[in-house]
């Protein structure tokens, strides 16, 4: 009916039409937000965003929302806060998790299976269990570091740990055992084997976990809201959540703020997509 493709498979009209519809359904909502963020307040209130697309030259595109966002709201500093939260919270779990994953993969010791099952189990535990005890521990009744970046780094390091150990261990288990064995025969200690062989060879899995963890930390609302608060250190997601609650004055900044909060994760997403896919296919479930 429609002939064949370059690789000789038959062309399927049904697949083409359905996929175009699905792909549009999945992108149109985001495009609506993007278009709205470049429209003036009065236009947004009087016509739908699609009108601007249908009449692109008379639509009165403007950067005013973004200008005002940076001039008169906290969005700029929130964006910086998000970076300061997300980068260490992504990197810090890796070292600890890599050592643990090495032990689980290449060493035999009593309790090995039981401890790893514990890790599989806590991956499923909802992080809600941790809120009240951790607020006691980090809040004024305890260490008094609640509201500071340190508190959120610590929490994300802890909550990311099961996923990190699990992902890295599953990857290390696929490394050729003979390489590790021959290092041992050459007289290398476990410590040296880890640094010179296991860690560098696990780079793809480390990148996979880092991508997942970065997106998770950046997009997190609960931990940021409870342990960093809505003050000077708030993340861009908490900022956006606060903007969603306001009506009237400043409402038009919402779409620009939302798009601003998505730019960095989208860049990370597109540049590290193949690592992300690998991390997910390693069987990652997050608590």
């Amino acid at each position: 009916m429609m002939g064949t493709m370059k690789d000789g498979r038959p062309r399927s009209l049904l697949a083409i039409v359905t996929m175009v519809v699905l792909a549009l359904l999945w992108t149109v909502p985001t495009i609506g937000l993007l278009v709205t963020s470049f429209r003036a307040r009065e236009d947004v209130a009087s016509s739908g965003w699609w009108d601007a697309l249908l009449n692109p030259f008379g639509a009165g595109w403007t950067l005013a929302n973004y200008e005002r966002l940076f001039e008169s709201t906290t969005a700029g500093s929130s964006l910086l806060n998000s970076v300061i939260v997300a980068v260490p919270a992504t990197v810090l779990p890796i070292m600890f998790a890599a050592f643990a994953a090495y032990a689980f993969t290449f060493m035999r010791f009593p309790g090995r299976e039981l401890l790893f099952i514990l890790i599989v189990a806590v991956m499923v535990v909802p992080i809600q269990v941790a809120f009240q005890p951790m607020l006691d521990l980090l809040g004024p009744r305890g260490l008094g570091i609640n509201g500071q970046f340190v508190a959120v780094w610590l929490l994300h390091t802890g909550f990311g740990m099961p996923l990190a150990v699990y992902t890295l261990r599953n990857y290390m288990a696929t490394l050729p055992n003979s390489v590790i064995e021959s290092a041992k025969i050459d007289g290398a200690s476990h410590f040296q084997t880890f640094w010179r062989l296991a860690a560098p060879m696990s780079m793809p899995a480390i990148a996979a976990f880092a991508t997942l963890q970065f997106l998770w930390v950046w997009n997190d609302l609960l931990i940021a809201k409870l342990f960093l608060g809505g003050g000077a250190n708030k993340t861009v997601i908490v900022d956006l959540q606060q903007m969603l609650g306001t009506q009237g004055q400043g409402e038009e900044l919402l779409t620009a703020g939302a798009f601003l909060s998505m730019v960095i994760p989208m860049i990370v997403f597109f540049s590290l997509q193949r690592f992300l896919v690998r991390g997910m296919t390693a069987g990652s479930v997050k608590g």
């Binding site: 697949a15 359905t18 996929m19 699905l22 792909a23 999945w26 992108t27 149109v28 985001t30 609506g32 209130a45 016509s47 739908g48 699609w50 910086l80 300061i84 990197v91 810090l92 600890f96 998790a97 050592f99 643990a100 032990a103 060493m107 010791f109 514990l118 599989v120 806590v122 499923v124 535990v125 909802p126 809600q128 269990v129 941790a130 009240q132 005890p133 951790m134 570091i145 390091t157 802890g158 150990v165 288990a173 007289g187 410590f191 997106l215 997009n219 997190d220 609302l221 609960l222 997601i237 969603l244 609650g245 909060s261 998505m262 994760p265 989208m266 997509q273 997910m280 296919t281 479930v285």
Partner: protein
């Protein structure tokens, strides 16, 4: 008889031929122990200083962030170096047994502090009063099980569980199968478009869909896509998120989660479909089976384990769904769910006891999934 046993105690020791037979080296042991304690002390104090004395760091968040990275990574490297020194200082027989636990120690300590201890503590709190100062027995459980709001939230959670994972897997499967039939470019582009929402936060997605569900009074120009379509077709605009008949508002909130998660399902299912051996499909073609029959009888059975794994992952996510409801309706108009009720009890009503009891209910709901996960992990290991 080995050589060591025949030697008299006062003869000079044999130099160790290999590390595996080395005796204790106290100097290394002591140096390692001092270094370890010093590192932990220094790093902990540095991190506390970030919080307590921001003026030392010129109140610069960037400096604190950068130093946090340096102290975090550097601290971990130095920590493991000293740990290794201690292990090497021990007699080898002892060190061989201890080194796995040394490697596991920091990761397990963090897990214990942040997930296991709080779980126990939360269960304990669920038997205590609103500010955790006195025991109240089962009162919290009586209070939540006796409240309509709790069962309302449970019912909604049940609907989410029933609908979202199934629909997500179905869409994921459909996209994976159909994209497989496109040209290479078509496949890549269409999959990227469906996958993209994976990078969007729940709050961001709620903003996006808030635009779609937006409502203006009849007569005014509708700026929400959904109402614009309804009006164009001759209908009346609706305040969608306030309609709880047939739980329409909850269903519309579920759409957001399905939209976010389909890409995740699609990626896993797609890689499973590509892993189906070509010769099993060829064999089906030889026997004259049509495309539909090949899919249902040859491909589907082989990707079923993946479908189940995706289903479980989304199920776990749905049990704890919070952000979307919190920012879109905050539970109004019968849209409440367990995680949002928990949040309100703990941070708005300040009922620590009742909120802990709610988390315990959530934990109990998760136990069957947890057992399933552990079992399937064991099965997977047996096949390794």
């Amino acid at each position: 008889m080995t050589a060591t046993e025949t030697r008299s105690p006062d003869s000079p020791p044999i130099p160790p031929r290999e590390r595996a037979g080395s005796p204790a080296r106290p100097a290394l042991l002591i140096l390692g122990a001092i270094g370890l304690v010093a590192t932990v002390w220094l790093v902990c104090n540095a991190f506390l200083a970030f919080a307590y004395y921001p003026q030392w760091f010129l109140h610069s968040k960037l400096l604190i962030g950068a130093l946090g990275l340096v102290f975090g990574i550097g601290g971990a490297v130095v920590f493991f170096r000293f740990l290794n020194m201690i292990i090497e200082g021990l007699p080898s027989r002892l060190s061989e047994g201890l080194i796995p636990y040394a490697f596991l120690l920091p990761a397990l300590a963090l897990l214990g502090l942040m997930l296991i201890y709080p779980t126990v503590q939360t269960i304990v709190y669920s038997f205590a009063n609103a500010d955790s100062t006195a025991w109240v027995g089962l009162d919290n459980y009586r209070a939540i099980f006796g409240s309509g709001a709790f069962w309302q939230a449970m019912l909604n959670n049940f609907l989410w569980i029933l609908i979202v994972p199934l629909i997500t897997v179905a869409f994921g499967l459909a996209v994976a199968v159909l994209a497989d039939k496109l040209s290479a470019t078509g496949e890549r582009v269409s999959k990227s478009m469906v996958f993209l929402p994976m990078s969007i936060s729940f709050v961001g997605a709620s903003t996006i869909w808030g635009l779609i569900y937006a409502f203006r009074p009849p007569g005014a120009s509708q700026t929400g896509l959904l109402n614009a379509i309804v009006v164009a077709l001759g209908g009346e605009p609706q305040a969608w998120l306030q309609i709880d008949a047939a739980r329409l508002n909850s269903l519309l909130l579920m759409v957001i989660l399905v939209w976010l998660q389909t890409g995740f399902a699609m990626v896993l299912i797609s890689s499973a479909i590509k892993g189906v051996p070509e010769d099993t499909i060829e064999a089906g073609r030889m026997d004259g089976a049509g495309e539909a029959r090949i899919f249902w009888q040859i491909i589907f059975p082989q990707v079923r384990p993946t479908l189940l794994a995706v289903f479980i992952t989304v199920l776990i996510l749905v049990l704890k769904v919070f952000d979307i409801i919190y920012v879109m309706t905050n539970g109004r108009d019968n849209t409440d769910v367990i995680a949002n009720l928990y949040f309100r009890k703990l941070f708005v009503e300040r009922q620590a006891g009742e909120s802990s009891a709610i988390v315990v209910v959530l934990l109990v709901l998760i136990v069957p999934i947890l057992i399933y996960q552990v079992r399937s992990f064991k099965a997977q290991e047996a096949n390794r």
